[in-house]
């Protein structure tokens, strides 16, 4: 598979969109379960569990949305302008929903009575449903080719109020609820909360079946409303994503049924991400009606700059993100100190044997990466360049960390405090 330079930023944006759909989706879905919890002490425990699980990464997942927007407006300005102007209403609704969500979450800390708490949770939950729905309708407008090129050239209402948009909006809410139920079930199992685990297991199974039914039933909607997309989705390259999603979704149901919750987190995330892969494959190379990805792309210099900037940014972001996930998934966040910061055997061996090797390798990868992507002009060189830059990310991070940072534990925090004072 040869990836052209003009496709690379879109690839990054789609990866970002997949992360957003999975991670922010799970956050949105937690709001759904808060809303449908009902009344009484059981419902309160569900709402608290959903709230607690979101704590470590509170609204941080919106960085993915910001990433997608930034990459698309830099690398595909005409497409971004067309999308933002024609779909201004759903995008505006999504933005207001995000504002309300963040506010409600912050206000929860100040609620003192059960009635206040319930009002805040309701505002939170409603905006948690509104936001993914609105974003889904916007995606539906693009997928069904209702966004033509030009400043507000499409219809202000039918571009997002149409069968495909409504389908994808509902699917976005359903998959969010499904992801959240799977993740919250795993969290509850880890915390040893058997009652909550049982409740979220039932919810995960039900939401999984409903999401799957909407996704498969939706294919029929696409057939009548977005035929080009339907055609490529069931007969073209998009079928890969569709089948992968069905397989991963079924695996998730089986894993949740057999109470293998940790594994089910990954299959659930994969099932949702595969839908985006399927959409991208089915739609390529068309970006908008009458505009291919190649035509939409910005100038070569801009594309090179975006690619290099994203890869350099990834070098900073991904190790931190990996650490955050490891801490969250192992349940260390919020548990206090002690478990984190143990250097692995392999790492210390490598750093002892080869001082200076890693930095040099890193610099080599960086130079090769930048060289192949900027100076060279052919597709194969760009591919090598991208892999070099990825290799640079992998190598440079352990090389750049001062070894003392991980090896010397702080033995007496109080002594250090006294020194500073």
């Amino acid at each position: 598979v040869i990836v052209h330079l003009y496709e690379l930023p879109l690839l990054f944006a789609l990866i970002g969109l997949a992360f957003y759909t999975v991670l922010a989706g799970a956050d949105f879905g937690a709001g759904w379960w808060q809303l449908t919890a009902g009344k009484g002490p059981d419902a309160a425990s569900i709402r608290d569990h959903a709230h607690r699980a979101m704590g470590p990464v509170w609204e941080a997942n919106h960085v993915w949305l910001i990433f997608v927007l930034t990459v698309v407006w830099t690398a595909y300005p005409s497409a971004f302008g067309s999308i933002a102007s024609t779909l201004s209403i759903p995008l505006f609704i999504a933005a207001v929903g995000i504002i309300f969500r963040g506010t409600a979450y912050a206000l929860r800390a100040g609620a003192s009575t059960a009635r206040e708490l319930r009002a805040i949770d309701t505002a939170f939950a409603l905006s948690s449903i509104l936001t993914p729905f609105a974003l889904g309708t916007a995606v539906g407008g693009i997928a069904s080719r209702r966004v033509p090129v030009g400043n507000a050239a499409g219809d202000q209402f039918s571009s997002w109020l149409n069968p495909t948009s409504l389908l994808i909006g509902v699917l976005a809410v359903a998959t969010a609820a499904y992801l959240a139920a799977v993740f919250l079930c795993a969290d509850a199992a880890r915390l040893g909360e058997t009652t909550l685990e049982q409740k979220f297991r039932t919810r995960a199974l039900a939401a999984g079946l409903v999401s799957g039914a909407i996704a498969l039933g939706g294919v029929a909607v696409l057939r009548s409303d977005a035929h080009p997309l339907y055609h490529r989705l069931v007969e073209g390259k998009g079928l890969i994503g569709l089948l992968a999603s069905i397989a991963a979704g079924s695996a998730t149901l089986a894993l949740v049924w057999r109470k293998r919750y940790e594994a089910s987190r990954y299959t659930a995330a994969f099932a949702v991400a595969a839908i985006i892969v399927g959409w991208a494959l089915a739609q390529s190379p068309v970006f908008l009606e009458g505009l291919t990805v190649r035509e939409a792309a910005a100038g070569r210099d801009t594309l090179v700059a975006v690619t290099v900037a994203v890869l350099a940014g990834a070098a900073i972001l991904f190790p931190s993100l990996a650490l955050l996930f490891r801490l969250v998934l192992s349940g260390d966040v919020g548990r206090g100190e002690g478990a984190a910061g143990q250097p692995t055997q392999a790492r210390s061996l490598l750093t002892t044997l080869a001082p200076g090797l890693l930095p040099r390798l890193a610099i080599a990868c960086l130079v090769a990466g930048i060289g192949f992507t900027t100076i060279a002009n052919t597709a194969w060189a760009h591919t090598i360049g991208v892999f070099s830059l990825f290799a640079f990310i992998v190598v440079a991070f352990p090389a750049a960390l001062p070894p003392d940072l991980l090896h010397t534990p702080v033995e007496n925090p109080k002594a250090e405090k006294a020194d500073l004072a």
Binding site: S85, V96, L107, S112, Q156, L420, A421
Partner: protein
């Protein structure tokens, strides 16, 4: 951890003067921003693109901005409410800065 950030000297200036100075800082900040934005007109990117070329053709923008203004008004009230309530709560001894004796 150090908590030796800058604090205004207590009792050196009257309370009203300090409040006035804080407000002046905010006004200066906003005025500088207004100057750059208004001073650049009619360009949105100076000598590259006019604001009239850049503006969205979407209808209903006044409705959208009125909605946004109301949302932010609500936010201001909500934030004032939460800050007022949190300010009345006693400090958690675990997160409070150390007193003079401890430091």
């Amino acid at each position: 951890m150090g908590f030796d950030q800058y604090h205004e000297p207590a009792n050196e200036l009257p309370e009203e003067t300090r409040t006035f100075a804080r407000l002046c800082a905010v006004v200066a900040l906003i005025c500088g921003w207004v100057t750059t934005e208004v001073g650049r007109q009619p360009w949105v990117v100076y000598r590259v693109m006019r604001t009239s070329e850049a503006v969205t053709g979407a209808g209903g923008i006044p409705v959208g901005y009125a909605t946004l203004a109301l949302v932010y008004l609500g936010l201001v009230l909500a934030v004032a409410w939460i800050l007022g309530r949190l300010a009345r709560l006693p400090l958690d001894p675990m997160t409070a800065p150390p007193t003079a004796e401890e430091a």
